[in-house]
Symmetry: C2
Subunit: 186 residues, 2 copies
DNA sequence: AGCACTTATTCAACTTGTTGAGTATGAAGA
DNA sequence: TCTTCATACTCAACAAGTTGAATAAGTGCT
């Protein structure tokens, strides 16, 4: 019952197909929710049954048909009600890399080092993508102007959180690599 | 098959009961893995069946008996093998607060504001707890000395990541509150 | 005396999330 | 031409995670 809120939040930006959402989850909502495509399709079908979203089929000539989903009035109301609910469970994080780092001293430290390096590379990419998204959202305004005057600041605020997260991944990863290298050279 | 790795990582610190782990998950492993007590008990039982951990029953006079689990040689080997595996799936985050913030402009902004404020308070607490843990781990050494010379740096490195995460929660939350207040006063 | 809280765990039912495969079409590059 | 990639889904099976209740004994507070 929680994935649906993330989906409805994504649909506030306008109608989208399951496929759009599955792909785009990485760019827009990804920094605080993850889901596989199968999960999205299943949940969207259920939400349609319950009247939270409406689908319209778009026939395409040179591609498979697609179903575009949009929020219904009931969906909008449900989302509004959701924002008013008392703060539910706190952040859930599951990070395999940190599990590995935790047992680095009793494990294969070269492999863990490589995994950290990969994380650093991924964080760099993701940060760059988020930076482009940010530029697009700002559309020439300064951050200050935007935050003071824009119609909607929610998506920008969540983007900032995602950027901070990736920046930390980067910083921390570089520190960790440095520590491991120093210890290896010892 | 992933929770068990987190559990084994926690058992590297020494034997623990399911109850210890369930509680302590918040202090040690919590910053990168979460699980309910039921999940831990079930998984520990399975791991015992598979010989990854061994349990010994400790009879207690004024409390219920408890089963203390420790890593077996097979468990240690499995954990080592796990650290050598290619980097699996990336971080999964699920944060209801960010979902709410995302739809803040179409929702109950006062309630969302309150939820952010609560998050800020929680982050402050958690950061203080992590800071105490850090002091304990350092045991008088400077961070530099510790990282260069300690037997095990894994737990310290993961702690640093957790601290960075909570600091970001704090910073971001304060910024978000400020933005909302300015907009409300507009 | 009564109530809530902590320790320590178990059982059952349920909801979510993951994995793998399969279908169909067109476009782009070797 | 042949393979690979992108679009756009569906189905089935399974693994993981959540929720709620129950048990049992002691401790601390009013």
């Amino acid at each position: 019952m929680a994935l649906r809120n993330a989906l409805m939040a994504a649909l506030l930006d306008g109608e989208a197909s399951g496929y759009d959402l599955a792909k785009g989850f990485d760019a827009s909502v990804a920094n605080y929710w993850t889901a596989t495509p199968q999960q999205l399709y299943r949940e969207l079908d259920r939400m349609e049954d319950e009247g939270l979203v409406a689908a319209r089929v778009v026939e395409q000539e040179r591609r498979p048909n697609k179903r575009l989903f949009s929020l219904t009035a009931a969906g909008r109301a449900a989302l509004h009600a959701y924002t008013a609910e008392p703060p539910a469970r706190p952040t859930a994080i599951r990070d395999e890399l940190l599990v590995k780092v935790r047992c680095l001293d009793d494990g294969d430290s070269a492999a863990v080092r490589a995994a950290i390096a990969e994380r650093v590379a991924l964080a760099t990419d993701k940060l760059a993508r988020y930076e482009r998204l940010r530029t697009r959202l700002l559309a020439g305004r300064t951050e200050e102007d935007f935050l003071a005057g824009a119609d909607r600041v929610g998506p920008y605020l969540t983007l900032l959180r995602g950027m901070a997260f990736e920046r930390e991944n980067l910083h921390w990863g570089e520190l960790a690599l440095d520590v491991l290298d120093r210890r290896a050279a010892r």
